[in-house]
Symmetry: C2
Subunit: 228 residues, 2 copies
């Protein structure tokens, strides 16, 4: 397992280059030769280290999935200790969203990039990619849904599933189309601002999910609006 070559570590150089390119153009649209050029290596090196093109994607997933899931579960665990239901819900939502944007541990700046990659891959839906993505995040998502359900007692679980997936949709959309937010707000909002994006997603999702706790009729809601 000795290291050789001009690079410090060719494997991570390849993964870094591939992750950057995949997160921008998707899996199928990126040629192995592009990755090789970006990593300053020959094409053959890629298949030597990872066997397959799909093997590169597998390795990318492997180095992100575990730490990101661990961080999420850790934060969710912290959040569930909060007494106040509304504050707890906010903490749980942050536990899910923040690790998706920020890097986990050593991988600097990789959080948002990897999440963006996941977003693109889910849309691309290539057969090769599907096998790798699999359900790497299903268990965590279920824990996340359970934690939410405890914050909004009495609500139907189906509704929570729907709205928690809408959270994921909002997350993906923001990472893929940040410029639309900037443009539609005429520059007043910055879609590229991760901190602001986190805040917006968390608050919007909070409102969406919290409404399940006390399902007011539309008439009641309208009345409340009129009286304000």
């Amino acid at each position: 397992m000795a290291k050789a070559g001009r690079e410090i570590d060719s494997r991570t150089a390849i993964l870094d280059a591939a992750e950057e390119l995949f997160s921008q153009h998707g899996f199928g649209a990126v040629a192995l030769r592009e990755i090789a050029r970006a990593a300053d290596l020959n094409v053959g090196s890629l298949t030597y280290h990872f066997g397959d093109k799909a093997g590169i994607l597998s390795a990318i997933y492997e180095r992100h999935t575990r730490p990101m899931n661990a961080r999420r579960l850790e934060l969710i665990s912290e959040a569930t200790r909060i007494e106040d239901r509304s504050a707890r819900l906010t903490a749980i939502l942050r536990a899910y969203v923040v690790p998706a944007f920020r890097s986990s541990d050593d991988l600097v700046g990789g959080g948002a990039r990897f999440t963006r990659l996941r977003a693109i891959l889910s849309a691309e839906g290539s057969e090769q990619a599907k096998l790798i993505i699999a359900d790497a995040f299903d268990a965590t998502t279920r824990a996340f849904i359970d934690a939410i359900a405890d914050c909004v007692p009495g609500s139907k679980r189906d509704d929570i599933v729907w709205r928690s997936q809408f959270l994921l949709g909002s997350l993906y959309y923001t990472l893929i189309n940040p410029e639309r937010i900037s443009r539609l707000s005429d520059g007043a909002a910055d879609g590229f601002d991760h901190d602001e994006a986190i805040r917006q997603i968390v608050e919007a999702s909070h409102a969406s999910l919290w409404a399940l706790a006390r399902p007011l009729s539309k008439g009641q809601l309208a009345q409340a609006a009129r009286s304000s």
Copy 2:
């Protein structure tokens, strides 16, 4: 401009086949020969009718954009006549979501398929596709945001932009990953049910946007939850 060939109309046969394939695998991943095979025609026919591969995508957009936008503006116009703010908001949201799922006029079943195509293209972000997509829906989206703003007076416009884009993200995500909703709810919810999806998206977005009308503090929200 006479019609010929074995098919009723080769042009629409090509567009139908291409739309189906593009909406499933994206623009770059579909080969012209696949489209030709699906349309029961030769490859040369495609470039004969549409010049380019991009030309096919252009034609798909052209036959959907106008009617879908028209239908949306029509429904928004109807909705703005509703007095009750909450009911009006619901109607506006439906005006945006329903045409994205249901077909407009003659094109049977094309609504959801075309929206799914848009979702995939936005993720793919290929240069060729970007030029075609352009801002075909920007004007309508702005009218949509304006109409929402009237329902939630006093709220910041930035917030409305963010949350309206989250609506779009939820829409896209639902069309791309319907099976995730079914799976995470253990079959209790059906992600493929368009009517249910419309209802869920509209209600969740309503809660999200309506909360902007009367920004309660988290303490107040928590108190309300406790008292219930």
